[in-house]
Symmetry: C2
Subunit: 361 residues, 2 copies
């Protein structure tokens, strides 16, 4: 164990709502997961029915019951940056705070199942991993797939990303491009002798404002694309025309497009500008016809929605493992300052998983 | 003397071109003037005809000959940021490098006059000061005007800013406003649930691109205004719609407008947006009818151009002291990566000043 300093304590015998609150109160912005990973590791270490391994701030906990089927139940431990939304607080039947929705409610449910079901009817591989909210190369699941792919082998995977307690199938892909405009520096008092690169970015923003995102229907599910500037930066000094401006654009694309097709589309949209791909992850087609996925869908109500956000279902999809999103919390609230998770949904998602795994409802 | 570590040596008995080169090779980006100020202080300290005082990294060197008239000859020691343009190099009769034009050529001439003319026909106050290229509150001349206004008293002032060896009269004012657009954060995969503040800045850039700067004629001199974004910044994370974007805009305005009128104009241009004034300095009307200014103009050829860039002539103007710009170097090259100063102009400006002060041409 590379690091085991003082850490917060998690009591996995208490209810999932309390556990969600405790998890939210351990700040874990991407890159800062040490404390929460320590707490999770410590809490799982006392479960004799689990083999627990740690990789960086990613934890793998597995049953070894010799069942016919093995399923993955996974959740990421990190959150987007703080936005004046900690500590957690409860009101109106909801728990509010950074990560309440995305996705400490789902992590709490997975931890509860892991700790309290010593003999599930399927072998389970629980994954609690780091750096899902940042670039793909830092993603804990991605790193695990590269270093120890055997640990991810399963017949089916459930990612406990917020999905309003309804199965969400497939996921949209994502990529980021840096669109750079160039100029020529000059003293701002004699602007006519230079070229202002920030002004040049006006056309980039105009194209973004005019862009009409696609909404293709795939396997009966309507996806919804998006094209957004997520960063903009330019400037040299308060009296100098800047010679460069960079607009970082995030394209979320429906799973009928590959990363290559999506990048080609960016080249069309920003035709005439210098663009560079900085990050990408493919989408995943819904795949609900695969038997293990269909069986799970049937067990939890038979209904599915399309998944808009990119999630790690695409990584399982890439490994040939059918995967769905199923977790508490409205996915529309993810990454919003006012995100929350309904207490009742945390409880009902736990019950549905518990029943599916052969436990008492 | 608060600081006198090891410093480069300046030999003021060598020619002004060599001195310009030596000054360029002492990197002195605003805020980093300690080394150059030490070198200047050390070089002037051996001149028995001068009283030398230091304030921060600003130096004041005065003759006390009891002449009827006192004139200020001033130059700033700092430069805009490095842009892969050091060390200095000579070619084609020019010296190239950061600060060669703006304004180490002028500083070299002033230092030469200070060191080699022990008995000028007018008393002279030489000023070599810090932080001209950054916000007004850090400006060494401005600080001196506040702390020791008596030191600036004079009948006339010459700022040795680059003016192509021709008197430049008046100067344009400058102000900066931060134009902020607001949005609402949301996960970029569900962009329709948020508002993208960077996209909102598209309209700010569109107004800048559409803006037609004024070119008013004042006292026979045509000024030329400018409105430019000098910084832009926005973004929270690679998958989050940003809730704020700030465009810093620099307005250079002709001296027929006060700071207040210029700011009011910004409120009109950016009507509907949140704007905040972050920095300002008034312009200066040409003022060539003042006797001391007219006499100097006559002595150096009788020709004057309008000054586009803001310079500290406005500060002298504010103190009731007529002031002009007169220095070697094309002002259009100031702040450009490829700035240079013609060697011949450095020499001819020195000669004209020397003659005006009663020396041998």
């Amino acid at each position: 164990m590379p690091d085991q300093p003082v850490h917060p304590t998690l009591d996995l015998t208490r209810d999932a709502v309390q556990l969600t609150e405790d998890l939210v109160n351990i700040e874990s912005v991407s890159g800062n997961e040490q404390a929460i990973a320590n707490a999770v590791q410590h809490a799982l270490a006392v479960c004799d029915h689990l083999e627990v391994q740690r990789f960086g701030h990613t934890l793998v906990a597995r049953t070894h019951l010799g069942r016919d089927e093995r399923v993955v139940i996974a959740g990421h431990l990190d959150t987007v940056p703080l936005n004046d939304n900690l500590p957690a607080r409860r009101d109106d039947g909801a728990l509010r705070g950074l990560g309440a929705c995305d996705m400490k409610g789902g992590v709490a449910v997975a931890l509860r199942i892991a700790a309290t079901m010593p003999e599930p009817n399927r072998d389970v591989t629980f994954l609690f991993y780091e750096c899902e909210e940042v670039e793909a190369e830092r993603n804990g699941l991605s790193k695990l797939a590269a270093s120890d792919p055997d640990l991810l082998q399963a017949d089916f995977a459930i990612l406990m990303e917020p999905s309003d307690g309804v199965v969400e199938a497939g996921c949209q892909g994502t990529l980021r491009v840096d669109v750079t405009t160039r100029g020529r520096r000059a003293h701002s008092a004699r602007a006519w002798t230079g070229v202002n690169a920030i002004h040049g970015a006006g056309e980039v923003l105009a194209r973004l404002n005019a862009y009409e995102p696609r909404r293709p229907v795939i396997d009966g599910l309507e996806y919804h694309e998006g094209l957004n500037a997520v960063f903009i930066t330019g400037g040299v000094a308060g009296n100098v025309l800047p010679d460069a401006c960079v607009v970082s654009v995030n394209y979320r694309f429906a799973p009928d497009r590959s990363v290559e097709e999506a990048y080609e589309h960016m080249r069309e949209v920003f035709d005439g500008f210098e663009i560079e791909l900085s990050d990408s992850a493919p989408g995943a087609l819904p795949g609900l016809s695969v038997p293990a996925a269909a069986a799970f869908l049937e067990a939890v109500g038979g209904r599915a929605n399309p998944k808009f956000g990119w999630t790690d279902v695409a990584r399982f999809s890439g490994l040939g493992i059918p995967a769905v999103n199923f977790g508490p919390g409205d996915p529309h609230l993810a990454h919003r300052q006012d995100e929350f998770v309904p207490l009742e949904q945390v409880r009902s998602v736990e019950e549905q998983l518990r029943t599916w795994l052969g436990g008492q409802a």
